[in-house]
Symmetry: C2
Subunit: 169 residues, 2 copies
Amino acid sequence: MSPKRPLRFDPIAEARRQWEVRGWGAPASMAAATSIMRAQQLVLAGVEAALREFDLTFARYEALVLLRFSREGRLPLGKMGERLMVHPTSITNAIDRLEEQGLVRRVPHPEDRRAILAEITPVGVDLVERATQAVVEAEFGLGDLSEAEADRLTREIRKMRRAAGDFED
Amino acid sequence: MSPKRPLRFDPIAEARRQWEVRGWGAPASMAAATSIMRAQQLVLAGVEAALREFDLTFARYEALVLLRFSREGRLPLGKMGERLMVHPTSITNAIDRLEEQGLVRRVPHPEDRRAILAEITPVGVDLVERATQAVVEAEFGLGDLSEAEADRLTREIRKMRRAAGDFED
DNA sequence: CATATCTCAGATATACTGATATTT
DNA sequence: CAAATATCAGTATATCTGAGATAT
């Protein structure tokens, strides 16, 4: 981790100013995209720090949560990749690792013999619940954002996600 | 690239519902953090697709832009790492690559002989301007977000960044 | 001597390409 | 035969740790 002290100015406001000086176009979009990238660095750093003691990465934690939320604790690997927006080989790799850790096991799909299900184990259920406590205590890397602010943020990003074709609804 | 079709529901709204069912705490923060992570995937995918023809990654593009915006087209590597919030060895690596591509060169720091400056070359200046055009045309992966929506998004994220200690201002 | 800056070697995580086996 | 599912081999990128060289 890098507990870097805060800058004494907003680097994105500064970048936007420079962007306009150069006449580079769409400065509002640049600022929004850069904001998203930087916010993600902060969230990822905060969450991964909380997950370290459980030997989980963010990607593997997300996979565990997804399985925990599924009706029967199992999902086809392909479906998991779609939902998490990751490459098929990345899911194979993540499930390999979770299986080594005893948090998940592979079981054959009952109807489609091409597909394989990942199923969360009791150990996995226990771990994901403890890891979640730690992530909540770390405030998801958001700092002390109020509930109202978090909701406004979620709503604004939701517009962007819809514009970018993430979902239809 | 993966031109995946949109889901027919908002996966984050669904995750939030499940999160509350399990009684996992801070659902508003979970939704905000997950929104940031997912938005970043969309932006990164859009921008990297636009940068591919220039043989640039997002990280190297950011470094070029930072140099382009500096007063004299050069900055110490350490300062670049701070500004981009990346590990010192990652900057070394990125500058190695940009130097191989002829977009940047290393020059000694005139006052502090420990430090090394990365300086953008004329070829680098030309490339970063052309790459920027492509990124703007790709709308930064934001889809057709209006300027007002982009500004609102930037403002909401700014609150989060301040709460997370990204800057003081 | 302590600190700062950068680099290197080695390890891990993720992603992508292209190929393959199996099943639908 | 075409499409879908998962895997594998190989490559690339980025991150981090720990060590070391050089300079302040």
